[in-house]
């Protein structure tokens, strides 16, 4: 076998937008209409779009590649072509070895069967041999943590339990190529972490992984290389950090100001000392420029900014008024600018800067942007979680009977 375990060469995929004829009752009149010179069918045929255009990449054995992009960028289509569920309109792809897709981890389940029966059913659907499943049964059940419910029909499971069992089965296939699509969004935090660890272990064992996720944090943890897709076109391919930077930059500046509001946020820029920036190191300083523009007369305004994590949990907020600035009054067509300086004491991950115009005395929000910008904080090995308290170990040592080691200061 060659060194390349997965490759796509100039792959194109076309979809038809509007209606397709999915009953004979519609098709036959349409066909006869076409025969007698009707143009209706042609008009329908023309509404096509390319879900993927000229996608080419190569993944070497044991390497992990992430595909990132916004909704509708063509990520799932690419994975479906790779897993042979769809055939590309043009182009070629090569998969060396057994491929398994963690696209929909519970697709094979039948609600009336018990957890145990579903392990076997789902396992064989994913391409495992019965003997193979038998051998890994204990591991699979232990991984899912559903020991007590394994003989219960899965229709009585909660959605979390459902997904856990599905992932546990899928994670125990030993494929040569593993395709992972958004499966980590299920389950609680602990289970998500366990899934991530499992994927890392699989990569370490030599499996090639293709990963699709909106969770940039998991992407950086798993993949060294990424590919950025936008509306079916490949924007860039390269090391994950630089691709994420490109991805976040491509997202800013797309919002259109709403002209109807009496005051609106006309610009939000996050920058470092050098200029506009979306990726920072933990603890670095960032400046947030906010510009607001008035259409009508407005008074006693304050600019509010806050920071949320990927789960929209608010980490911190502040406003010009709370920071001691005088309330803002604007006449029509006047603009106001302010710059906040932030110390980014947050840990590795994606964070969103949100902004709003607020009047405190009547408690009215004139305009808000959620999010106005997205920040990515690079990998820090020292801390995990949401914030970085910059910990250091100042004292450590072994104590107890027979311990001669002095406490180190």
């Amino acid at each position: 076998m060659s060194d390349v375990s997965l490759s796509m060469e100039h792959v194109y995929k076309k979809f038809r937008k509007g209606e397709i004829y999915n009953s004979l009752r519609d098709l036959i009149p349409a066909m006869t209409g076409k025969m007698f010179g009707g143009d209706e069918l042609d008009a329908k045929d023309r509404r096509e779009f390319w879900a993927l255009e000229d996608l080419s990449f190569e993944v070497k054995r044991g390497e992990a590649l992430a595909i990132i992009g916004r909704n509708g960028a063509g990520k799932s289509t690419a994975l479906k072509i790779l897993s042979r569920i769809m055939r590309p309109t043009r182009g070629r792809m090569v998969v060396n070895g057994r491929l398994s897709a963690l696209i929909e981890v519970t697709a094979g389940f039948h609600p009336d069967l018990t957890g145990m029966e579903n392990i076997f059913l789902h396992g064989t659907i994913l391409g495992m041999k019965k003997r193979e499943i038998q051998g890994k049964l204990d591991q699979i059940i232990a991984f899912s943590g559903l020991d007590d419910f394994i003989d219960t029909p899965v229709k009585r499971y909660s959605s979390g339990m459902y997904a856990r069992l599905g992932f546990s089965v899928a994670a125990h296939i030993e494929p040569d190529v593993m395709v992972v699509d958004e499966v980590l969004s299920v389950g609680d935090f602990v289970f998500q972490q366990r899934c991530l660890d499992r994927i890392k272990a699989v990569i370490k064992a030599g499996t090639t992984v293709l990963f699709v996720s909106h969770n940039l944090k998991s992407v950086t943890e798993i993949c060294d290389r990424s590919l950025l897709l936008d509306h079916g076109k490949t924007l860039a391919i390269g090391d994950t950090d630089s691709i994420i930077r490109k991805y976040l930059e491509s997202g800013s500046g797309t919002a259109v100001p709403e002209e109807k509001k009496s005051v609106h946020i006309s610009q939000v820029v996050v920058r470092d000392a050098a200029g506009e920036q979306a990726t920072f190191g933990s603890g670095e300083t960032a400046w947030v420029d906010v510009e607001i523009t008035a259409r009508d007369f407005a008074e006693k305004l304050a600019v509010v900014i806050w920071l949320t994590d990927d789960a929209q949990y608010e980490l911190f907020n502040t406003s010009t008024e709370r920071l001691g600035c005088t309330p803002i009054s604007l006449s029509p067509n006047q603009s106001y600018r302010c710059t906040f300086q932030l110390q980014l004491n947050v840990a590795h991950g994606t964070f969103h800067v949100c902004a709003a115009i607020h009047r405190y005395d009547i408690d009215k929000t004139y305009d808000d942007k959620k999010p106005a910008a997205t920040l990515f904080i690079g990998n820090t090995t020292a801390v995990r979680g949401a914030v970085n308290c910059f910990p250091t170990v100042v004292e450590h040592g072994v104590s107890g009977v027979g311990s001669e080691t002095p406490i180190v200061r």
């Binding site: 999915n22 897709a101 696209i103 929909e104 094979g108 029966e117 041999k129």
Partner: protein, 261 residues
Amino acid sequence: MKEDLRELYKYRELLYMITYRDIKVRYKQSIMGFFWAILMPILIVMSGIVVRYAYAMVAHAPLKTADIAGVAIKSVPWAFLVSSIRFTCNSLTGNRELVTKIYFPKEIFPMAAVLACLFDFLVASVALVIFLALTHVGVSIYLLWVPVLLGTLIVLATGIGMLVSAASLFFRDVKYIVEVFLTFGIFFTPVFYDVRMFGDRGKYLMLNPVAPLLDGLSACIVHHESPDLHWFLYSLIFSLASFLSGFVLFKHLQPMFAESI
């Protein structure tokens, strides 16, 4: 084709698992499952007896046990064919998630549907054998024809099954058309009547590929004679052809399933 068959062989355990799932779900409440398996055959046999009784009245002849046995023998395989086609028709559209999300040879769905119906057929056959023992049809060397005839019927059912399952994936109204055919098909198939009742014109009825098989079953079990060889050969060729064309067409269409379902 060869590649496709090899792949299907590789996934044989999956065929077994999906069949197991279909049977298990249907027999979850074992009484209902058993009832389901014999319900349709019993109804067909009973309507057959009513029809045969009417014939007997018109002909001023007594209703013979051999006639009732013949109706029963033809009804059970007919019920198998009807339920196979009915289940295969929904076998792809009813497994939408699996069709769109995971790759494996999709002909497993119609095949598993036929196998699950075969299980029902076996359950019903046990009841049929008991019934036949009570009517004293007797045993003969011609019973060796039974597995051959049933095998041909299974091949035919699978071939039609692959065609209708793919067709109903692309066109949602196919299942209504199939349903109409299944409802009235019994009148064009010698289940309640025998082909020989039509004399010379019986051969037109034999063009229905199911007819020689059912007629053959009744011939070798009730009348202790060999089926009409020419017509059996016709059925066999028809069944193999429908299986092959069904398989080839199915595999040709399979890459379009995910986006058309």
